[in-house]
Amino acid sequence: MTTAAVTADGRRTKAKPATMAQALGRALRDSMAEDPTVHVLGEDVGTLGGVFRITDGLAKEFGDDRCTDTPLAEAGILGAAVGMAMYGLRPVVEMQFDAFAYPAFEQLMSHVAKMRNRTGGAMPLPITVRVPYGGGIGGVEHHSDSSEAYYMATPGLHVVTPATVDDAYGLLRESIASDDPVIFLEPKRLYWSKADWSPEAPAPVEPIGRAVVRRSGRSATLITYGPSLPVCLEAAEAAVAEGWELEVVDLRSLVPFDDETVVASVRRTGRAVVVHESPGFGGPGGEIAARITERCFHHLEAPVLRVAGFDIPYPPPMLERHHLPGVDRVLDAVARLQWEADS
């Protein structure tokens, strides 16, 4: 279905199906066109257009100096981006895959996250680090990690992850415009998800740091983000048959965390499940469950549950369906929320 959208200058445009990958590419393009200090750099981002083709056409349109194929060295790429940002540019770094970003951790932890703080606010670093993350695409070893907990545990970084085509565009624009470093986590298995979307009149986007209620309900709240949002929406749909009205909250931003939206929802429903595919132990769900418990204890009808990936290194692709939390696991958790103190 295509719907009409209206541009800022009043023109009516046709919204057509677009993939998340296309929206991300368009966000990069529009940011570069608008602001000459925006530079894209990474391995294969130029001639090839990125292994996921997100940067397709940027080198052609803006030249090699603005969309740069770098030597293959993640610490070097991010370290160079630090220097570029110190000199007033806005670098957007592409890390090819989640687990390939690990060599850059020292630059990230020691410098990117801390430079504003170390210099008493004199030297902010407006760097966006794009990290394709998560599984479900049949990737072999080192191509499917969910690394969000590492980033979340590092003060000084914003950690953002879109789950919709609109957010892919809007959140990436906002991340690039942010004066702080942003880890922009791109859910790989949603790259090819489609929605009606018009590049000329993109939907208005909630700023970084706000969660959004994607589906309203009164029985329980599913709190999720990125690749698990479609799973939760599907679960909510299926739950209707059981008589459950599930509310689904899409966090969109893990840091800062939108306590307000989450708390308001859980106080309404009295029950909460946190859903993500990264390992549960030490994962985002533990932090979120603790925050909910601290703020909603007297409103809760049951313990806050977590549905997460197993605490294992990401499995080989032929086994990943057993690891990734799917609709059934979410529904099982919701069933366990019908909890009684004596049971």
């Binding site: 610490a75 070097g76 370290g79 160079a80 220097g83 110190m86 007033g88 004199a122 000084g156």
Partner: protein, 386 residues
């Protein structure tokens, strides 16, 4: 290399793979086998005497700065001080070869280079005193924060120099690192990026013999650290790091080369750390007195003084003046460092993000309440005469 000639071997003689050709002739990139020297050689005749006198005054001041800062650690005014005594020629030359628009990327041991570049001696020490991480605005002085992780500042220098060139600015970045730092991955990545991008950067390695306690022979199997340059496709230069005139000249040439758009240079200065790694370590456990004595005879301040007095450019009065200027600097530093810094606990939350997150706002409010309660308590104690 020759292929061993065997009967019938011609038929099997290997041919190069189709795509292979040498990218560049390595010969011009290789350093000379001996560290370059100026003082006590004919080359000194070409050096402006004014420059020699300036270097001398700065060396004397720098030596005194090192001594004063070390003394401040003993008085508990500095948490730690990694002294660069014995390496002053490197520190001073690094500062003096740069134009105002250029950038310096110092390591934790390079406080002196930052001061010689014009940074307030107290602002340079805040990291080591423990009241702030970086007590100055890096953009104002064009000095990156003193970098404690090893070699991680090198890719920053490359990125900054690259960005400046993209913007059309005539800016050079000089990045300092120790011999131990050359073993880090970031050293490799920075040199590689700089060479590929032809970034206007000078990598300046102060080889002072030890990475804390580990000697150079256990750090690298390369003929010299300067030899590493050839693998990246940039020239390597080896210089006597205690010869201030030589270091100044070699770095000046490298800076000029970078400014001409000819790319990065790796300069290795062979020098010696006369003190321990920091006041916290015991250098007698890993080095012998005879070695220290030999380097004392090659002291950077004495080398330059011998040259200047021998040529009648500096007399006792001049020496005394340099010493007095250094004493004045030390006295001022002592006075200012003996005042307790003002600390503002609420600043903990001020510069984490451009805007505080709701999480930080909550934590700031909690600390505010703690501080208020502390103050109330103190006031009650004061009223009660406790």
């Amino acid at each position: 290399m020759t292929v061993q000639e065997l009967p019938g071997a011609a038929a099997y003689r290997p041919t190069p793979p189709p795509a292979w050709k040498p990218i560049t002739d390595p010969a011009p990139l290789l350093p000379d086998p001996e560290p370059y020297r100026v003082l006590g050689t004919d080359a000194v005749a070409d050096v402006d005497p004014e420059l020699l006198l300036r270097l001398h005054a700065e060396l004397v001041r720098g030596r005194r700065y090192n001594a004063q800062a070390t003394a401040l650690t003993k008085q508990g005014r500095l948490a730690v001080y990694p002294s660069s005594t014995g390496q002053e020629a490197c520190e001073i030359a690094a500062a003096l070869v740069l134009e105002e628009r250029d950038w310096l990327f110092p390591s934790y041991r390079d406080t002196l280079a930052a001061v010689a570049r014009g940074l307030d001696p107290v602002e340079a020490l805040t990291l080591l005193r423990g009241d702030r991480h970086t007590g100055y605005d890096p953009r104002e002085h064009r000095i990156a924060p003193l970098c404690t992780p090893l070699a991680t500042q090198l890719p920053h220098a490359v990125g900054l120099a690259h960005a400046a060139r993209l913007k059309g600015d005539d800016v050079v970045a000089l990045a300092m690192v120790g011999d131990g730092g050359t073993s880090e991955g970031d050293f490799h990545e920075a040199l590689n990026f700089a060479a590929v991008w032809k970034a206007p950067v000078v990598f300046f390695v102060q080889n002072n013999g030890f990475a804390i306690s580990v000697p150079l022979a256990k750090q690298t199997a390369a003929p010299s650290l300067a030899h590493k340059a050839v693998g990246y496709g940039m020239p390597g230069r080896l210089v006597d790091g205690n010869d201030a005139a030589a270091v100044h000249q070699v770095l000046s040439e490298a800076v000029a080369r970078a400014r001409r758009g000819e790319g990065p240079t790796l300069v290795e200065a062979v020098t010696y750390r006369m003190e321990a790694h920091t006041n916290a370590d015991d250098a007698t456990r890993y080095r012998v007195d005879s070695e220290v004595e030999a380097w004392k005879a090659h002291d950077p301040v004495r080398l330059l003084e011998r040259e200047l007095t021998g040529r009648g450019l500096l007399d006792d009065e001049g020496l005394e003046q340099a010493k007095e200027a250094a004493e004045r600097m030390a006295a001022a530093l002592r006075d200012r460092m003996n005042a307790d810094p003002e600390l503002a606990p609420m600043d903990l939350f001020t510069h984490v993000y451009a805007e505080q997150t709701s999480q930080l706002r909550e934590q700031a409010a909690a600390l505010r309440a703690e501080l208020d309660a502390e103050q109330d308590h103190d006031e009650q104690d004061a009223e009660a005469g406790r």
